[in-house]
Subunit: 187 residues, 2 copies
């Protein structure tokens, strides 16, 4: 069900503000964390920004590999997202403990999380000031994919599928809002 | 219906990824533009990041005043949001042409747009590199408010009110997704 998304339209995977899972790998160790503070910053070449707290285990993996992936999880994964966002890879192997499956996508340079509805594989743009001062990481998107059941033709289509496919938008704690109805202003 | 929001919880007004209206004022001229690329970057002190293209008229107002406000519009305002996002203040007076009302909030330093469901008044954090390289503006939140019909006790509550109050999440063109159901993972 996974289709490649034109890189010039990769921003549309994040444009509506979903919470993401940030995945990274270094020296044989994978990890995944949750992040709500993420956005596109450019169309073409496609760039993204994400806040990665300095206390996170994932940050060390990103600093060592220079790479990360943004995975867009869905409502069916809400409990897993909360679990991944409230535990640290310093203490446990979150992928094993929370049954996180990884996709077999040979062109991706960071692990991609199974069951998500979109993925953006990124290379870090070195930004020492932003990283040190704001915990802000910028990335160039080098690969993008989506589940074609919910994203096709450059747009999200949630109306025709099970509620479990809807993206999650974090409020606080273990509380989210799922994305809702389409609103078309005809322009 | 407008209540002040504790600054330490102001990030929750943006955490779920709504599209915003960016408003600014300088030398007697107000303007409002739409922006989907916006996110919190810190809790306390509360900071935000927003991408403001160098071609926008609003950017000049922000550069001159050192201030901007983020207004969170709702579904009832979808046509106005598209209009504000597809015209420039260089050519027309958008506030007048699109019947944008401004609130009387004496403690705000930038104009606040009426009919929205949340507002964050911000002072720019000077970031010459980010502004020049990424069109990225950082702001310190100095005031935050929400419509208590949809945000109270530090959380959004859309279930009990008219659909028109739901936040808008931009996909592309004049196409949005409204925010949907609450999802509570019990943690």
């Amino acid at each position: 069900m996974r289709i490649a998304v034109d890189l010039a339209k990769a921003y549309r995977l994040l444009n509506h503000g979903p919470t993401v899972l940030v995945s990274a790998s270094a020296e044989g160790r994978n990890n995944v964390m949750a992040a709500a503070w993420v956005m596109p910053v450019d169309f073409n070449p496609p760039k993204v920004a994400v806040v990665i707290d300095r206390k996170t285990f994932t940050r060390g993996l990103i600093e060592r590999s220079g790479r990360f992936a943004l995975n867009v999880p869905c409502r069916a994964q809400a409990r897993m997202v909360t679990a991944l966002g409230t535990h640290t890879g310093r203490e446990i192997d979150k992928l094993s403990d929370f049954q996180v499956s990884l996709l077999d996508e040979p062109t991706a340079s960071s692990p991609l999380v199974g069951g998500c509805v979109a993925w953006l594989d990124c290379v870090c743009l070195p930004e020492p000031h932003n990283e040190a001062t704001h915990d802000l990481f910028l990335g160039m998107v080098t690969g993008a994919w989506a589940d074609r059941r919910v994203f096709d033709g450059g747009r999200w289509h949630f109306d025709q599928v099970d509620e479990g496919f809807r993206t999650l938008h974090h409020v606080a704690g273990g509380h989210y809002l799922a994305i809702g109805d389409e609103v078309d202003t005809g322009q």
